[in-house]
């Protein structure tokens, strides 16, 4: 017996909603930050096994820092325990050390998670578009200027999404 089609997740989608905008989440370390992200993603039904995602994010971070400089970090993973492509944002009240290239502690974090199957089809083009944006000084400043969910939504839909579609069409 298969689940009715209406009960299944949209096949290809990128989740971005106010529940994934974390303002001052109360994280004092990278593990606590990943924990807060994990909790938010779990509340949105995007994560099937939060502890595994949190531990996996920590292992992935240890393999290579996601900090890009100017206090911005961009952790990104594909994981089997994630059920949809999702973007989450956090502005930390107290910067945390993530071994950034300029030595500056991180206080603005954009996270991209996606599953391995078709539901994660946008992962690579979205990752390429966001990496390109956030490796530039202007792009990092644009992300730093985000003050509310609407700003984030505007940045992603007006700047990142067209670039994502451009990457896809190559």
């Amino acid at each position: 017996v298969r689940k009715p089609a209406a009960q299944r997740e949209p096949v290809v989608a990128v989740h971005l909603d106010p529940g994934l905008y974390l303002h001052h989440p109360g994280a004092a370390s990278r593990l606590e930050l990943f924990e807060r992200f994990g909790e938010a993603l779990e509340r949105r039904g995007v994560v099937e096994h939060r502890p595994a995602l949190v531990r996996f994010l920590a292992e992935r971070e240890a393999l290579g820092t996601s900090a890009l400089g100017e206090g911005v970090a961009f952790p990104h993973v594909r994981a089997h325990v994630v059920s949809a492509t999702a973007l989450a944002f956090s502005r930390l009240e107290k910067p945390i050390e993530l071994d950034g290239p300029d030595g500056r502690a991180v206080d603005v974090v954009l996270m991209l998670v996606a599953p391995y199957d078709l539901r994660g089809a946008f992962y690579q083009p979205l990752l390429a578009a966001l990496a390109e944006l956030l490796h530039s000084h202007d792009g990092r400043q644009m992300l730093r200027a985000v003050a509310c969910f609407s700003d984030l939504e505007r940045l992603l839909l007006e700047t990142v999404w067209p670039r994502t579609l451009e990457v896809l069409s190559r």
Binding site: V12, D17, G45, F56, H80, Y116, A121, A131
Partner: protein
């Protein structure tokens, strides 16, 4: 949840990451995007530490399933195996046992914590949730799927 299954979920993620990095352009792709990766041995070491605490029978079962499916350990929500999307028999789904497996596909299962109805609502239309049709989506193939096609795909 059985703590060994709990660790196996992370082992599965580490295996997928290692496969990605070992694939033809996995590491170069990350570096091309500006993310430098350090020595992978840390990931292998972590995997070994986790595997050391998992029973041999469970590991054998996991290895056999991984040959067949990209995801050998999957969640079950509302009595549905999230690997094959099959509704499990009520008696089996509610049974408390050390190791839960799907009666149809054989995958190792863990129970997905329920989320509140309000939280599980889909994102508002036009509020940042971007959905596209399958027709306009890129190729669904992932590296792990290419290496281990599902039984259904092979038929």
């Amino acid at each position: 949840m059985n703590s060994q299954v709990h660790d196996l979920v992370l082992v599965q993620e580490l295996d997928a990451l290692l496969e990605d990095l070992e694939s033809a352009n996995g590491e170069q792709q990350e570096e091309a995007l500006g993310f430098c990766l350090r020595d992978w041995s840390r990931i292998r070491l972590k995997r070994e530490q986790l595997v050391a605490g998992i029973g041999a029978d469970l590991l054998r079962r996991y290895a056999r399933l991984r040959e067949r499916y990209p995801r050998a350990v999957v969640g079950t929500r509302g009595g549905v195996c999230l690997g094959c999307n099959t509704l499990r028999p009520t008696a089996m789904a509610s049974r408390a046992s050390a190791l839960d497996t799907c009666e149809r596909c054989g995958r190792i299962l863990f129970r997905v914590e329920p989320v509140s109805p309000a939280a599980s609502l889909p994102a508002r239309a036009g509020a940042g949730s971007v959905a596209v049709s399958e027709a306009s989506a890129p190729s669904p193939r992932s590296s792990s799927q290419r290496r281990a096609p599902s039984r259904a795909a092979r038929r």
